[in-house]
Amino acid sequence: MIKTDVIIIGAGPVGLFAIHQLGIKGLKAVVIDNLDKPGGQCIELYPDKPIYDIPAVPECTGKELTDRLLEQTKPFKTKFYLNERVEEVKSKEDNWSIKTSNNNEFIAPNIIIAGGVGSFEPRKLSLKDTDKFEGKSIFYSVKNKNDFKNKNISIFGGGDSALDWALELSKLSKITLIHRRKDFRGAQHTLEEIRKLEKQGKIIIKTPFQLDNIEGNEKIQSITIKDENGKSEKIETDIILSFFGLVMKLGPIAEWGLNMDKKNISVNPNNFETNKKGIFAVGDICTYPGKLKLILSGFHEVALASVECFKRARPNEKYKFEFTTSSKVIKARLGKK
């Protein structure tokens, strides 16, 4: 059980800025995120796309914004728990305890939910029976290449993940790459490599085709793919690898007893507290009259929430508002003289 002042759920831009706002007030935090790296939507959805509405930053990409926020939070040496989803939130006297999918347990007087639209999960195939084969013959990621040796593998998708794995696994197995249109959006040089292998008969490319049926009982034996005109083909297949990107799912948050408005958590706009004392929601996931889903709104929200977190974590101390420019205490916390 790890004890801290604040548990931050979500390592997107607002979750990262929370570290800073709490840190300058002398509060310790941990960050939990379901993705394998910090940055949230900025890193997962638009790492290369420009953002123009960060005050005093005329233009930056999602990746640059994330990198700068990480730089800004460095002095606080905050521990990140990545690839973990918060499954359970329970009250424990005046504290909240949290359990993650990796069975890590945390306890703190405050939780800040900066969860965006929920946690990112692979977009799953939607044919019937796909659940039954998941983890046995249907995979949405490759953890250990050796599990994919000497097999007939059908890879679906047109992006970098599909192309990269088609190329990589073609060294170990027989690959069929299937995509719904002729153009692939993945890196052109990878595609050129794959086209070369196609000419040598080492990879089969099937376009414009989509998955239509899966045949097999215990294991997959073959799949049927169909084109736009209804023409279908059967492909001998042991393993399906599907790369249709990630979707955002609210997940267990909906079951924590928080007041919700559609997919958002209702908060008090004075301190961004939810209906549960000590649980705050900031950024895209929160809602209140006039809410705008902007990164800059999230920064404001977390600044205010951090004050309330201080009051709960340090009930015997008086909160003193200070400017970073002039406060010796804050400068010391930032490692500045």
Binding site: Q41, L45, G159, R185, Q210, E228, V247
Partner: protein, 122 residues
């Protein structure tokens, strides 16, 4: 005087709104007056049309506002840009007439425009 004002207002509202029809896979259909300049996605969200999620808020980054456009309207829309087609790759059951509704901007030309929402968005 009041009548003239009312008539004026009526004309103003009438000419800046366009009828958009949203159908679902069960055959339910809803026709909404959507303000010109808004996207077909925003029209749906503001009017609580189920079947369009729009998780990313219209930044062409998630494919959860995916719709099928009625064939006769396809040519009347500006062509989808590469970024949109790339996102449609990820959508649930994409077809030839698939578009992201956040990229279709409502205007007078689209009066009677009809889309069908897919069985699900993700």
């Amino acid at each position: 005087m009041f009548y003239i004002l009312a008539l004026f207002l009526f004309i103003l509202i009438y000419t800046t709104m366009t009828k958009i029809t949203y159908k679902d896979q069960q055959g339910n259909s809803k026709t909404i007056e959507v303000e010109n300049g808004l996207s077909v996605m925003e029209g749906a969200i503001q009017n609580d049309i189920s079947g369009i999620d729009a998780d990313c808020g219209g930044s062409m980054a998630c494919a959860t506002c995916h719709v099928y456009v009625e064939e006769k309207w396809l040519d009347k829309l500006p062509k989808a840009e590469d970024g949109e087609v790339d996102m449609i790759d990820m959508a649930f059951e994409p077809k030839k007439n698939s578009r992201l509704s956040c990229q279709i901007i409502v205007n007078d030309e689209l009066d009677g425009f009809t889309v069908t929402t897919p069985e699900k968005q993700s």
